[in-house]
Amino acid sequence: MSIDRPTVAKIASLARIKMTDAELDRMAPELSAILDWVEQLGEVDTSEVEPMTAVIPNTLRLRADEVDADPRTGGDRRDDVLANAPVAEHGFFGVPKVIE
């Protein structure tokens, strides 16, 4: 499968990655090569094989409906959450104005 230059430019824009013309030129054949490589999997007949979602047999674990039971996955830690923000004011993240 061949990825052309406009497709690379579109993917880059959707991913908010800024790319120069030279990078776009280089990326188009690279992405094509990756897809070609993955497409080799299509050569194997898997019509009789169950889809596999994990390499070890496992089921999705569910959590109990408890607030802040574990500090690592609970709230009430605003300072930590905001610590890396380029701008934080009055407890909010500050971002360039986005308005519809």
């Binding site: 959707l14 999705l60 674990r61 607030v67 996955t73 009430d76 407890g91 971002v95 986005v98």
Partner: protein
């Protein structure tokens, strides 16, 4: 069939409506983290490292959110998918730190279902109508942006980010603003019964994306297919949903009749002007590049889990309404009003049980009396008092006692209201009020007979006329007797004694 039509310059147009309702799942913690979902907290205080999308954090689904989605599916008679998956919907926006929303595109947890909207002649819904529901899936809510707090920046609060939503997608089965309004109200009623969403549209617990298109009336065919639809996002009241449909339908008809074509696009509703406008900036963001979330295994539900979900469902609105009509003998109207809101039926059923107990009668015998009291008498008294009424005094015990005294003939309907007024103001005991305030009617036959004897003796001429055939004078004697007893005589006893004496 709805006969709602837009009258265009070139003839009539039918409106086709589908709704995607986002309902916030009632849970303590978020869909994939342990942060609280409580409304109105200080900004960013209910954000976990998972919700803030810190590197290395993994989502683990909240069992309660899954349970509530399944129970909701069961309440709309839907197929429950024992196998479902989570997918990533990728887009960049400042309210979404992950850069993707975890949702369910390919394998939703709930499949095909339906609900019934009730006939409402006045609203142009001539008969009950079944509205198809395509699916319900579970997904994360985004954060909240505030644009008016700073001249050059938007502020971001991630407290809502990661809260569980159910997206409930209807079929394009509605044909008028009234049908869409009835659908949203019915859905909200069901969610409240089930307890899976509080249905509070003002706080944003429930909001709708409104899909509207127009076409010529008649069966769907290749020559007359569905029109191109627009989707108006985030409409947060029943009234606004109806306004959006009316405005969009008229806009599309004008556009087509002026030679234009409707563009499939996302639009925004402006409540101040009642109009919609295009959200062009989001156009190219529509390439969401969905793919299965590699952080989450498929969700596989056990039969025991489904059994528990089903067993925990309450009696649902349609069943309750039918029971009120068939078993309690209530009118269609009373049954509809009493079952529309959870709070209403809960109060009614408590009062009904208490009244039946005090009267020593079965519920069916007293149901109509209790329904009339609950829907008309009690709200009337409450309203007339305004701020003077303390709703906490409106206990089932007090109201049942008033109904008992009235049923026993101890007080009249008017006295019941007066007693209830005092109850609402002061919280005093109804029986005590009746005694001390003289709000009791005289049912003692002897006392009434004595008064009637006096009335008849003082009006001997009228008694002659009555016996001569002037039947209408009966009312006069009743009036005189009541007047003599300051209106406190039991009218049934007065009638009975008068009939006997006048022969």
């Amino acid at each position: 069939m709805s006969d709602y039509r837009i009258q265009g310059a070139t003839g009539e147009w039918e409106v086709v409506i589908g709704l995607e309702v986002h309902a916030q799942v009632t849970s303590n913690a978020k869909l994939f983290s342990g942060a609280s979902t409580a409304f109105g907290a200080e900004p960013n205080t209910q954000v976990s490292l998972v919700d803030a999308a810190m590197p290395g954090m993994l989502p683990v689904p909240n069992r309660e959110c899954i349970r509530q989605a399944v129970r909701t599916g069961m309440a709309i008679e839907a197929q429950i998918n024992k196998y479902s998956r989570f997918d990533r919907k990728n887009y960049f926006y400042a309210d979404l730190p992950q850069g993707y929303q975890i949702s369910q595109l390919y394998h939703p947890i709930v499949g095909e279902g339906q609900l019934t909207i009730e006939a409402d002649e006045k609203a142009g819904i001539p008969e009950d109508k079944v509205i198809g529901i395509e699916r319900i899936h579970v997904e994360q809510d985004a954060g909240k942006l505030m644009h008016d707090q700073h001249p050059t920046m938007s502020y971001v609060d991630l407290n809502r980010c990661g809260v569980a939503l159910m997206e409930i997608v209807s079929r394009p089965d509605m044909r008028s603003p009234a049908e869409a309004g009835a659908y949203v109200r019915k859905l909200r009623t069901i969610l409240r019964y089930v307890g899976s969403c509080d249905g509070n549209m003002e706080e944003g617990s429930m909001r709708a994306d409104v899909n509207v298109s127009v076409r010529r009336p008649g069966p769907i065919s290749d020559e007359n297919p569905f029109g191109t639809r627009t989707e108006t996002k985030n409409v947060n009241s029943v009234r606004f949903v109806m306004q959006v449909i009316e405005h969009e339908a008229n806009r599309q008809v004008d556009l087509i009749e002026d030679g234009g074509t409707v563009v499939q696009e996302t639009r925004l509703f402006d409540p101040n002007s009642g109009t919609t406008r295009s959200m062009r900036s989001k156009e190219d963001a529509h390439d969401y590049r969905y793919f299965p979330d590699p952080d989450l295994l498929p969700l596989e539900l056990e039969d025991s889990f489904l059994d528990e979900c089903r067993a925990s469902l309450p009696e649902l609105p349609d069943a309750k309404r039918a029971r009120y009509i068939d078993e309690l003998g209530l009118s269609d109207y009373n049954a509809s009003v009493l079952t529309a809101e959870v709070e209403t039926f809960a109060r009614f059923e408590t009062l009904l049980a208490e009244t039946a107990k005090r009267l020593g009668k079965d519920e069916k015998t007293v149901a109509t009396q209790v329904a009339n009291w609950s829907l008309s008498v009690a709200p009337g008294v409450m309203k007339s008092l305004g701020d003077e009424a303390d709703p906490s005094h409106a206990t089932a015990e007090a109201q049942a006692e008033i109904l008992r005294m009235q049923d026993a003939g101890e007080i009249s309907g008017g006295q019941a209201k007066e007693i209830y007024e005092i109850v609402l103001r002061t919280g005093r005991d109804p029986a005590e009020i009746a005694d001390t305030e003289g709000l009791k009617q005289q049912s003692d036959t002897g006392a009434i007979e004595a008064v009637i004897d006096e009335v008849l003796a003082a009006n001997a001429d009228k008694v002659e006329e009555y016996r001569g055939g002037k039947d209408k004078l009966f009312g006069f004697f009743v009036g005189q007797t009541m007047k003599a007893m300051q209106g406190k005589a039991n009218p049934a006893v007065v009638n009975q004694v008068l009939k006997a004496k006048l022969g």
